[in-house]
Structures are given as C-alpha cells and as structure tokens.
Symmetry: C2
DNA sequence: TTGAAAGCGCTAACAG
DNA sequence: CTGTTAGCGCTTTCAA
C-alpha cells in the first residue's frame, strides 16, 4: 500500500503551495494557465486522486446519495435502482444502497447508517412492516428525501408513485370488457399505500360498471406465489366462485394461475387473471400474464431527478415537495384475452 | 437545515473537552463511566450523529466498499449484490454500487469514482467489453479487490467463481443420460472467461461420452433471447440438426425454446434444452428450463467475506489471494426430462 | 496571479 | 482519568 499522493506532494514537486494546486485543480479563474497545465500534468504523472472525504469534510458535502429498498433481488426494485444510479452518477453522486428486508427496525438502522455516512440525500421505498413514519419525518427535516412506490401520506415529502388507483381501474375495466362479471381481488395488505389504492380502484371500477362489491371476494395477503395459490383455492372453493381474479402483484397472479390450472380450469376461458407490476417472468409464463406495467426504471430515474432538484435548490427549506404520479399501462396478455377466442 | 451537533457541542454543554467526548464515545478504557454515561445521554438528547467523513479522514478509513456490476437489473447480479450487502453491512461497511453497462470505459470511470470516494475495498464483475485488465491490476496494487463470476486469470487477485467447466459437464452428462446424442452448444463470447470454460466443459464432456465435437454445432453470441432464437433457427435449418441444445444462459435457452416451438417441434421429445444460471423465470415458463444453478446470492456473500478477510488482515500485501470456486448444481426440469415420459 | 493561515469534525499521542 | 495539541487532505477567505 504505497502512500497516496496529495495536493501537497504535487505542490512541493512544483515548488508552489497547496492552495495554488487546489485552485488550479478546480479551474479557479485567477490562476495562470501555465500553472494549471503544470499542475494537471504533475497530478497525472503522480497518479493523484482527490480525496473526497477531505473535500467533503471541508465543503460539508459528501457527494453521496443513499438508496434504501426492501430488497434488491426484487426485479422491480433492482430496476428502479438501475434507473436512479444512472441519473445520480451522471450528476456526480455516488450511490449507497441498503436493504430494509421490509423490517421497520432494519429500515431505521440503515437510514441511520446513511446519515452517519453524511449522505446528501435519500431515496427510499418504505418497508412493509413500517406502520409508523416519524423516522422519515425526522430525516426530511434536514435531509432531502424522496419516497417512491411504497410511500405514505405526507405533504412535506416528495414522492414518486404510479397511479395505483388508476391502474386497478384499468385492470378491472379490461376484465369487464372481456366479459367477466364476477371479479375477485387478491390484495396486498391495505396498510401499504399502493395496495390500499389498488383496493380502492378495484371497488370504484366495480361500482362504475354496476357490479356489486362482495366482501368475500377480496382477500389481503403477502404478495407472493404461495399466498396467491392459497387465496385462489379459497375463492374457487366458494359456492359461487369468481370468473376473474385481479391480483395486486404478478407473484399473486402466478400463484393463483397455478391453483386454477391444477383444478383443470382453463385460463382465460373459465377464469381470467390480471396481475400487477409486469415482472420479468410475466411475459414468459404460460399463459402469459396480463398485467399493469409500473415503469420501474422510470420511477427510479424520476426519483433521482426529483432528489437532484432538491439537492441543487439553494434553499432546501423552501423547495416545494414534488409529487410525481406516473400513469401505469395495461399490458394485455393471454391470461385474460378471452374475446379473441370468441372473435376468431 | 439546522446545524448538525458535533462532539464539540456536547463537550461544551458538559464542560469537558472534545477529546474526552471522543474517548467516551469510543468506549475508551481510561475514561470514567460517569463521564461516559453523561456523554452518551447528552449525545442522544442533542441528536448527535458521528460524522464519518471526519472520522474517516482522520483514521484513513472510509467504511465504504464499492461493488461494480454490469447491470443491476440482471437478477443474477441483483441477487449477488443482495448477498454481499448483507455481509458487508453486518461488518459495518456501507456499500457503494455502480454499473458498468458492460462497457470498458464506463467500468474504468466507475472504478475511478470508487477510488475518489476512498472505498476500502472493491468487489467487481468484469464488463463484457473489457478485454484488457491493467485497470484492475493497478487497483489491486493498493486496494483490496475481489472479482466474482466474470473474472480473468490473475493469480494476484482474489476471485469467486463457480466451476463453469464442471457445470457445463453436468449439463452435457444429463443430456446424454436422457438419450440425446447430437448436442449443440449456444455459447457466449469466449473472451469472457465463464463462457470460455463452459465451452471447454462442453467439449470435454462430449469427448468423455465418445461423441464427436462438430464445429458447426457451436455458436458464440450475446447471451440474450433474440440471439438464442436466431442461433436455434440456424441450427434447426441444418441438414442434420441437433437433437439437443446446451445454452450458456437461460436467456439463450428461452430464445431457443421459442424457435423450436415455433416450428412445431416438441420439447423435450424432439429436442432437449438445458440452460445456465437458473434465472427467476426459468422455473415458471413452459416447458420449465433445465439449468445450472449458480448460487448467485452465495457468490455475493462469499465475495464479501473474501474481501473482509483482506480488509482485516494487518498486512494486506501479504494477504494471500483467495480463490473460491463454488460447485454448481444441475436442476432438472421439463425442457430435457425425456426419460420420465418413456418411463411412465 | 499566488501565498498564508485557518478550519471542516474527529482522533491519538503525549502530558498532566 | 482528562486535557493539550497536532493533524488527516482539502478549500477558502484575506493578504500580498
């Protein structure tokens, strides 16, 4: 481990002072271009790398942004990180990532870590188990913060979400259009805002089409395959089972599809299924899953841009919280495409 | 943005010196427990958060580890990051992430960024377009470095890989066992080490089983769906087409399967397919894809542990480069399970 | 156009 | 057990 070269090394080699070097490096107007050239060259030949910790300490800026997600292995969040990282690194920020594992305690701990690391801003998606939000409130007091997807209602915090309500409406509209009339909903837990809004959208769309909402046609559960299968089985065991299922995630939809096919029922002929999120597998499975695309990468980049706006506004207290709501898109696939069969 | 509280604030409130506070906070043995208690309490009531930039500058440690991958949206890399992040954060490190987009230039730039940020160590998977490796060599001179999956041959650098050769052998063995005899290989580019080793494993396994290697049965391409489809079509257009395909990635395998099914051929009856990597979609598609599991999460955590060993060895120059080779696992699914049909 | 000096927040000798 | 002092590498007035 050879000692790292500092501006002092290059200063002494050149017979000038560190402050001159510093100015040369930052292209200060009142420094001769010869000096600048000499400094740059000497810097390169010595393999000089600015020490961001020193700069940061001095300037009170770390150049770091923290991004917290429930889990990196979910393709939705991985893609969001991808989108955010690209924007952030373009703007000269390095990205710290951490996972909450959907736990409130871990979430708090990781946010603490960000703060210690002196991040200049934070992008986060709230952990499923967090039912109280003072920790975010406290952070937002003095650190630019953007919440995406899993947000909560707080008018002082910038958010990036999709129109979950509208997405759910599109899903139900489509099902109705395909001729389904008894539409059940496998929902996520309603304390999680996006799931709550999808439930509301579902109800609203039913009403719009004159379909009555049945309490026994909606179940809340964790958004994974197994629960999808379990709930679907409950639904199919009913005396008057549904003829379509709107699931609040593609994992739930996939689980439900398995349950349905295991019973020898046909999709989409007997039962139509629509998911939510457009996971990578959704287009590849059989039947391919009709779903609502969340534009995960755009969410990430939008959150990053929103954060950068806050970061570069001179007076952060006065920066108006931004509220980005992306419009989700219905992607029709075979799990619900009944009309085509009729038409052919 | 209220000013952040420093040890000086808490020192003056308590009428002691900053150095006493510092020692109290770091639980220095020669400080009275009353003082410690007082300091801790005052710290909490003032909302004190240690400034890692200052500590880092002073100690010459940033507490940061950089992790560079081609792209976060690939589930393999996302999962590897997940595995690494968990270990690293357990050990008190924060994780910086960056993507190379498989470009040599971007890779260099991102690594530079890590160095400026004063990362203490780097975990990386080489970009597909990097055909020269001095940049890694240079980094390894004075920064602990672990390469995983996409490595290159360098005995001075720690690596974590799976046994790609052995994985390919397992794939071919399985195909032979299922009765396939004309086995083609859709390969990745051979300048990428893992792909190269899989090609070698493929050839070696053919030889082992007394099957002759045919040059026209192997194609190198980018590991995505489209290329898989294209190459499969070339293969199927041949006068004597193969009866099985070993693809170097599940994306290639999926693309090939589409081509095969589009021609009305049956899988696995007419043609068997084995992929590589066990992507999330591979178990869900129809037919489900037989593949080689790479243990991506374990790769990430192993790389992290290997880095931590280097980080905590007192004399890093003397730390022996570690070489972890994980044994991959064959996962048999429907795309190759011909015998079962015979047996039933 | 450049130099001198102070300081960002914290730690680590060395004194006391 | 606690205080003094110096300094990590860099930037930024203020002088020259």
């Amino acid at each position: 481990m050879k000692k790292k070269t500092t501006i002092l090394d290059i200063a002494s080699k050149l017979g000038i002072t560190p402050s001159a070097v510093s100015k040369a490096l930052s292209n200060h107007p009142r420094i001769s271009s010869e000096t600048k050239k000499a400094v740059i060259e000497m810097g390169e030949s010595l393999g000089y790398k600015p020490n961001y910790m020193a700069t940061g300490l001095r300037k009170g800026k770390s150049g770091l942004v923290g991004m917290l997600v429930p889990g990196i292995h979910y393709s939705f969040f991985a893609t969001a990180i991808k989108g955010a990282e690209e924007i952030l690194s373009q703007h000269g920020y390095s990205v710290l990532i951490a996972q909450s594992k959907d736990s409130y305690e871990v979430e708090k701990k990781q946010l603490e870590g960000f703060l210690r690391a002196q991040v200049e801003g934070i992008i986060s998606s709230v952990a499923m188990n967090s039912k109280t939000y003072q920790h975010y409130r406290a952070i937002a007091e003095d650190t630019p913060l953007v919440l995406f997807d899993r947000t909560y209602d707080d008018e002082n915090i910038s958010t990036v979400t999709i129109d979950d309500f509208g997405g759910a409406v599109k899903a139900v509209d489509h099902l109705v259009e395909m001729g389904y009339k008894k539409i059940a909903h496998i929902a996520g837990y309603s304390h999680v805002l996006p799931f709550k809004k999808r439930i509301e959208g579902y109800k609203s769309a039913l009403a719009k089409h004159g379909l009555t909402f049945r309490k026994d046609f909606i179940f809340q559960c964790a958004p994974n395959n197994d629960e999808g299968t379990q709930v679907a089985n409950k639904l199919l065991d009913m005396e008057k089972p549904p003829d379509a299922i709107f699931a609040s995630s593609d994992y739930l939809a996939y689980g439900a599809i398995k349950a349905i096919m295991d019973r020898g029922l046909k999709i989409p002929e007997d039962i139509g299924v629509v998911g939510f999120s457009n996971e990578e597998f959704s287009s590849r499975v059989s039947p391919s899953i009709t779903t609502i695309d969340q534009y995960s990468e755009v969410m990430g980049s939008t959150a990053a841009r929103s954060l950068i706006v806050q970061l570069s506004s001179d007076n952060q207290k006065e920066a108006v919280p931004q509220r980005h709501i992306l419009t989700p898109k219905l992607i029709v696939r075979n799990s619900s495409l009944r009309k085509v069969l009729v038409t052919i």
